[in-house]
């Protein structure tokens, strides 16, 4: 079964440093997402991306976050200046189309980010 792959699986970074989390979505999928889960809390939506544009973002997704599809296969989440509260598991996801009622969103295994 095709899958969403994420790298790194775990990253430790100093506060204030820039971090890039990488994802390879399923090859024929057109919609891409990032979610995150702070330890002990709910999985939260960050952003959705389609046709090289953000289609929806949450209030969490402020100016320190950005997403990019730099080539035909990768989808990245950049955090410009990390804070302690950015420590979380970040999940990349993709779907063939949008519209959650008719399309399955496939999630990757997650990238643990620890900010120290």
């Amino acid at each position: 079964e095709p899958e969403v792959t994420q790298t790194p699986s775990h990253q430790v970074t100093q506060m204030g440093q820039e971090v890039i989390l990488r994802c390879v979505p399923i090859s024929n999928h057109l919609y891409f997402y990032w979610y995150r889960q702070i330890l002990g809390q709910k999985v939260e939506f960050l952003v959705s991306f389609y046709n090289n544009e953000i289609s929806e973002k949450s209030e969490i997704f402020d100016d320190q976050f950005s997403v990019e599809r730099p080539d035909g296969s990768n989808f990245t989440l950049k955090i410009r200046s990390t804070k302690l509260e950015d420590s979380a598991m970040y999940f990349c996801a993709s779907s063939e189309e949008g519209f959650v009622n008719t399309n399955t969103i496939y999630f990757g295994e997650g990238s643990w980010l620890t900010v120290v």
């Binding site: 899958e3 969403v4 919609y31 997402y33 979610y35 809390q41 709910k42 999985v43 939260e44 939506f45 959705s48 389609y50 289609s55 929806e56 949450s58 999940f91 996801a93 949008g98 519209f99 959650v100 009622n101 008719t102 399955t104 969103i105 496939y106 999630f107 990757g108 295994e109 997650g110």
Partner: protein, 112 residues
């Protein structure tokens, strides 16, 4: 705001016993409801989903869920659990075309 609540943080069940995980939703219209499972070291895997129609939904790995509008619930069930069912289970609701809102999750422990 649309949301789901999972009242049980942790459930322990014996192997071979039945399992029921509770999910309550808050949503004005007909909700799009999902159950995901996260096994250790794995991503979130979709077990089943409900959009409309038959209120009893069959999923993968022997799971089913029943949508009850009168109770605002979408509980997940399995008649006989296996040790491999030990995982964290998340209920979610579609809150826009692109966005899911997740519950806090229920951790299931299976004892021999």
């Amino acid at each position: 705001a649309q949301s789901v609540t999972q009242p049980d943080i942790h459930i322990t069940v014996s192997e071979g016993a039945s399992l029921e995980l509770r999910c309550n939703y808050s949503y004005g219209a007909t909700p799009y409801l999902f159950w995901y499972v996260q096994s250790p070291g794995q991503g979130l895997q979709l077990l089943l989903k409900y959009f409309s129609g038959d209120t009893l939904v069959q999923g993968i790995k022997g799971f089913e869920a029943e949508f009850k509008r009168s109770q605002s619930s979408f509980n997940l069930r399995k008649p006989s659990v296996h040790w491999s069912d030990a995982a964290e289970y998340f209920c979610a609701v579609g809150v826009s075309d692109y966005k899911l809102s997740f519950g806090a999750g229920t951790t299931v422990t299976v004892r021999a």
